[in-house]
């Protein structure tokens, strides 16, 4: 045990001595959460639209005012003809266009149905679909007020459970925490081990009386402390800067955060224990894990809409489980009664990764 204490002290010295890296490691996640918390949003508002109105009239002007007034659309161009819409769409100056039929006002007063064409840029399907839904709503409201009562009406009341205002930061900040923590933690340990390999002190460690699990513990424990500071920083930031609610228990969130960091640190240890060349390891760590973590953790894109093989693949992404835990505790205010499966998976992953890295050390000892 004294040997382990010695290794721990050595690691702490390393961390404390390299002040600059320590500052970078603790500040980087906090900075990134601020930056991306403001950047990653999917609210569709201020959709740039063009109006094509061949015969302006009180009716078309009133409907145009409706489009302008909702806060969702911003009219950037009004044209009498369809001519240069294509160019506007191609350059991205407009995202949708409302085209009134040439006899819109007359038809609205007469017998025929008044014609309205809504052209949307489908390149980005989400914005396109949401803009279309808003536009239909605008027209429907205009119509029901103008003609008073329709044959049949269903009045859906929509309740946004757990996030009534659909505030984007509430959706993305807990997920963002998971993403930033994964990357920074696996980088921390990957670097701590490669340094030993580079300077040749790895050999000294391997011939010391320390057992493989002790080496791993000595490497992971100090960074777990650093990771804890990072978690606290990120949670404080989520509360103060983004005003994300914390409806559940704070100690539980901190515990789960530590558990998740342990998983990520172990992943870093495993990568560095298994690879020999720095370039290969870095490529694997950066290019190989960054996009998958970003896309398969459910932090931006909903997992349940993915094809089945990808849904299965997402099961082995640690961040996926922590995203569920963080959102559950912060937004839903639920506890272990609901979150025990996710917690068990994280515990299992930590054990598996730690055992695997301890084993790969033993293999190195024997050869």
């Amino acid at each position: 045990m004294t040997a382990l204490a010695g290794l721990l002290r050595k690691e702490l010295f390393h961390i404390r001595r390299d002040r600059r890296t320590l500052v970078v490691i603790t500040l980087l996640p906090v900075l990134q959460v601020i930056l991306f918390g403001f950047a990653i949003r999917t609210d569709v508002d201020h959709v740039r639209i063009a109006i094509v109105d061949p015969a302006p009239d009180t009716a078309t002007l009133a409907l145009r005012a409706r489009f302008e007034g909702g806060g969702v659309f911003r009219i950037v161009a009004v044209r009498p003809r369809l001519d240069d819409l294509e160019t506007l769409f191609q350059s991205g100056d407009i995202q949708a266009a409302v085209v009134f039929g040439p006899r819109f006002a007359a038809d609205l007063r007469g017998e025929d149905a008044a014609r309205l064409l809504f052209v949307i840029d489908g390149t980005e399907p989400n914005t396109g679909a949401v803009a279309q839904a808003y536009a239909t709503g605008v027209v429907q409201r205009y119509e029901s007020e103008g003609t008073g009562g329709r044959a049949a009406r269903i009045v859906p009341e929509v309740r946004m459970r757990f996030n009534p205002t659909r505030e984007s930061s509430n959706l993305f900040v807990p997920g963002l925490m998971a993403f930033v923590l994964t990357i920074i933690s696996s980088l921390m340990t990957a670097i701590s081990l490669t340094r030993e390999k580079e300077t040749g002190t790895m050999e000294a460690l391997l011939v010391s009386p320390l057992r493989p699990w002790q080496i791993i513990a000595g490497k992971v424990a100090p960074y777990l402390a650093v990771g804890f500071i990072v978690i606290v920083g990120v949670i404080v930031e989520a509360r103060l800067v983004f005003d994300v609610p914390l409806r559940g228990s704070l100690p539980l969130l901190l515990f789960e955060g530590l558990l998740f960091i342990l998983v990520s640190l172990s992943l870093g240890i495993l990568i560095s224990a298994r690879t020999s060349s720095q370039r290969v390891a870095m490529m694997a760590a950066l290019v190989g894990t960054m996009l998958p973590t970003m896309l398969l953790s459910g932090f931006i894109f909903p997992i349940e809409s993915m094809p089945v093989p990808l849904r299965l693949l997402s099961l082995i992404v640690p961040a996926r489980w922590f995203v569920e835990v963080a959102r559950g505790i912060m937004l839903k205010g639920i506890g272990l009664a609901y979150l025990w499966p996710q917690t068990l998976v994280l515990v299992g992953m930590a054990l598996l990764l730690l055992t695997a890295s301890a084993r790969s050390f033993r293999e190195r000892l024997e050869t």
């Binding site: 990134q32 403001f38 950047a39 949003r41 201020h46 740039r48 769409f89 350059s91 991205g92 995202q95 149905a113 809504f118 949307i120 840029d121 390149t123 980005e124 989400n126 914005t127 396109g128 679909a129 839904a133 239909t136 709503g137 429907q140 119509e143 003609t147 329709r150 044959a151 049949a152 009406r153 269903i154 859906p156 009341e157 309740r159 946004m160 459970r161 757990f162 996030n163 009534p164 993305f172 997920g175 990357i183 490669t194 370039r279 290969v280 870095m282 490529m283 290019v287 996009l291 970003m294 896309l295 931006i300 894109f301 909903p302 809409s305 993915m306 990808l310 997402s314 959102r327 609901y338």
Partner: protein
Amino acid sequence: MRRILFLAQAEVLHIVRDRTTLAQILIMPVVQLLVLSNAATFAIRDTPTYVVDLDRTRLSRDLVARFASSGHFRIVGESVSLARADEALLEGDVTLALTIPDDFEASLVRSDAAPLLLTVNAEKGSAAGIVQSYATRIVSAYETELGSRSRIDVRTNTLFNPTLDYRHYMVPGILVALVTMIGTFLTAQNIAREKELGTLEQLNVTPITRGQFIAAKLLPFWTLALLDFAIGLVVAKFVFGVPMRGSLLLLFASAGWYMIAALAIGLWISTLVETQQQAMFVTFFIINIYLLMSGLFTPIDSMAPWVRPLAELNPVRHFVTISRAILMKGAGIREIAHPLGALAIYGVVTLTLAVRQYSKRTA
């Protein structure tokens, strides 16, 4: 010129000799493109839905059937207990709870207005809003069918991507991201490695000039990145059926110019740092910003106002815009003039920085 070619040749030999890295460069992007393009979707399929039908009439069952048959929703549970529905929402097993009150049909017949409650699990990220709009659309389609004749005939025409296929939108973007990541990483690590190995000293004592040195370092990686881009485009065309409406020549010309800008940033990092590890940290930070602030996954228009100018500084953002515009919208050089101009400025600035920063004395 011959000096540049000699040095470039040495670089090529390094890459070709290291089979693992070569495989990583050529195969990893293709695999990631194939797999991840399917993950990046906001399209809603099979959303787990819980139904609380308190009415149990023909009309209410009809409405539930509409949800089930739309393909967007999958009914995973049904009961008459509101508490059970709430439980399912808390567990996170369902995303939408559809509650039909017991006077649904009666009110429709009597007063022409029937209430309906849609509870969306808004914890589920961006999906919540889309789930809501799909659900509302089904309800209003049903309503129209029940006989409300509309006075305004609204038609919708979807341009460029009529089937609203997410992959057509994502594949060009992810391809750009992958090529950029690999290119930046390789160049960022390159000079740092020569510094570590001490071979940079040897180069410094040769008569080669700074400009020639940077050019020779750029050339092989530039070719590799464009090769990756071409392979990716073939995959995009034949596997994903991404439309290619614009001029491929224009696309490759822009790609060529863009890669100079992107790789020059990598080289600049490489001249700044001392070790490969530092290069990795800096590259990691920059690539993160590249990816999350490029409008690749989430729209630039939705970003907070003060972040948008920062996104303007992101070269990936401009090239993602260009490749989507050329491939999907068939844009010509006039329509992409703005992002292309931004890239041109970018390339000149970063190349100058890289050449200036690399000093033969302080290596």
